[in-house]
């Protein structure tokens, strides 16, 4: 499969009289862009705001981050299958992408009546409201645009935040559908501006392997939300719109670039949103750089987790290893998602690959070592031979901010305050770095007090 990706670098985004893209400046007509959102019968209120890198801004209550992409040749649409979009195969032809900019999906659920909250149980959604919720802010999804807490890759993007407050009486999955579908439409609208423009650069990705080189597969373990919300296509990490707990699915590296794996909500890549992170995955990118030079990038095996039972994890692990063997894979890179039982699934895949004679490398964060009382990994079989640490998820702290984006009207006061440091990663889902984005490593960002004392 062959895919051309044309990048249009965005230097700035600002509100103006006409929605347009000229010389890398994205001008946004707020009224025009909000009009279709407000016409959605399930939207009570909506707003549009921009967060730029370096600004004293905190984006809160975000569900997902979407890179605007446009399929200009080769069939299908980017981010296929979710929110009723076509499921036609992507990954060939030509795709336009807006670089350095993202549409952020913010869902304001303050003082809202949810339908049957007990039936729509979701991970990561607490019951506090207003100030209480903000006080426990560190456990909720937010990202800072500057300061020592600006650790997620989203801090380096120009974020066009679509804040949606849904109408009362929707179930949680439907609330998410409302914000996700409208954010995708906004992203499509912005990407459409590039259709007849000349890109800043074009890269070509060709899956053809070079004979004689070893084949490498990337196996991201991605939690399925099916055990919690059922087989919904809009909540959690989806593969062509499917969030189901299925056996491993094989995707080419080009399909990944077209957003075949995407989704938002608390269940998607630990609640930080799968869409941007899977379409800009550093492991996929570096495998492409080495493709047909040092090794052949065979593709990605999307291994779902949340089987909730070790025997089923074992079956899924063995199937993935056999699929790799059948495809002539010699080496595998693995990543995990959320940890806990998902970690067991990841390690069992690693074990099965090694037992099948395939070399493995695991890229992961370490556990909080609880001052030396706990092991760095929850469980590691003897076959685990090579790993790359992306840190422990510690963050030195979050400065007070002048602006908070993510709510209709002014956010609760507590969101503007400093937020204490995060020590270790347990429960702090939104800053986790599974893929090695490189901004959250232990060494780079945080020296624990014990080591500071040692000088």
């Amino acid at each position: 499969m062959r895919l051309e990706v044309a990048t249009f670098e965005i230097k700035d985004a600002r509100f103006g009289r006409q929605t347009s893209l000229r010389g890398g400046i994205l001008e946004l007509d707020k009224e025009e862009l909000l009009k279709p959102v407000l016409q959605d019968q399930y939207v009570a209120k909506a707003d549009l705001e921009i967060a730029r890198p370096g600004e004293s801004t905190r984006v809160v209550e975000y569900e997902n981050v979407i890179e605007p992409k446009l399929k200009v040749d080769g069939g299908g649409n980017c981010y296929p299958g979710v929110c009723g979009r076509a499921t036609e195969m992507v990954g060939s032809g030509k795709t336009h992408r807006l670089g350095g900019v993202a549409v952020v999906e913010c869902l304001d659920l303050s003082n809202i009546a949810e339908a049957a909250p007990g039936e729509s149980r979701q991970w990561g959604r607490e019951h506090e409201e207003g100030e209480d919720k903000a006080r426990r802010a560190v456990h909720h999804r937010f990202f800072d645009m500057r300061g020592p807490g600006a650790v997620t890759p989203y801090a380096s993007l120009i974020n066009i935040c679509l804040i949606v407050k849904p109408v009362d009486g929707l179930a949680a999955q439907d609330q998410h559908y409302v914000s996700f579908s409208n954010s995708l439409k906004l992203a499509d609208r912005l990407a459409e501006l590039t259709r007849h423009l000349k890109p800043d650069r074009v890269e070509t990705y060709d899956t053809t392997p070079k004979p004689g080189l070893p084949g490498v597969m990337y196996i991201p373990h991605l939690a399925s939300t099916e055990p919690v919300v059922g087989a919904q296509g809009t909540y959690g990490t989806a593969v062509y719109g499917q969030v189901r707990l299925s056996a491993a699915w094989y995707l080419t590296g080009t399909e990944m670039l077209d957003g075949a794996v995407c989704g938002g909500g608390a269940g998607a890549v630990s609640g930080g949103g799968a869409t941007w992170r899977m379409a800009n995955n550093p492991i996929v990118e570096s495998l492409w750089k080495r493709h047909a030079r040092e090794a052949n990038f065979i593709g990605c095996l999307i291994q779902r987790t949340n089987w909730t039972n070790q025997k089923e994890y074992r079956v899924a692990a063995d199937r993935a290893a056999q699929l790799c063997l059948g495809l002539g894979v010699k080496g595998v890179i693995l990543t995990t998602d959320i940890r806990g039982q998902r970690w067991v699934g990841t390690m069992l895949t690693l074990e099965a690959c090694e037992r099948a004679g395939i070399k493995t490398v695991l890229v992961t964060e370490e556990e909080d070592n609880e001052a030396g009382a706990a092991p760095p990994l929850l469980f590691a079989p003897p076959e685990f031979a090579a790993g790359i640490s992306t840190g422990t998820g510690d963050v030195v702290g979050f400065e007070p901010v002048q602006h908070v984006i993510g709510t209709i009207g002014k956010a609760p006061e507590a969101w503007f305050n400093a937020i204490p440091p995060i020590h270790g990663r347990y429960g702090i889902a939104h800053v986790q770095d599974y893929f090695g984005f490189g901004k959250q490593s232990y060494a780079d960002f945080f020296v624990p007090p014990a080591l500071q004392r040692l000088g």
Partner: protein
């Protein structure tokens, strides 16, 4: 928890749907449970069979407590019930 209790001299059998974790963390006696959501039973079974399953798991746990071990050991309720069947005949 299991290790702290054992430090106080109380023998522990830990029932887990993912035995790999307690075994690797050094729990001495681990019993295989059903699932994370329903560890000691299965809502897909009828009441009688569900009760039987629950009974077998608890029995395996009781047997584990009475079994001397020298390292982290997995007790599978399926094995225990097979042995039971042999005794019965």
């Amino acid at each position: 928890m299991s290790k702290e209790l054992e430090r106080e001299g109380i023998v522990v059998a830990m029932i887990s749907a993912l035995p790999a974790i307690p075994l690797s963390l050094g729990a001495h006696r681990v019993v295989r449970g059903v699932r994370v959501e329903h560890l000691c039973g299965d809502p897909n079974l009828n009441e009688e069979r569900d009760r039987g399953l629950m009974y077998r798991i608890v029995q395996a746990a009781l047997q584990a407590i009475q079994t001397p071990v020298t390292q982290p050991t997995l007790f599978d309720p399926a094995d225990v019930s097979r042995k039971e069947a042999v005794h019965a005949s």
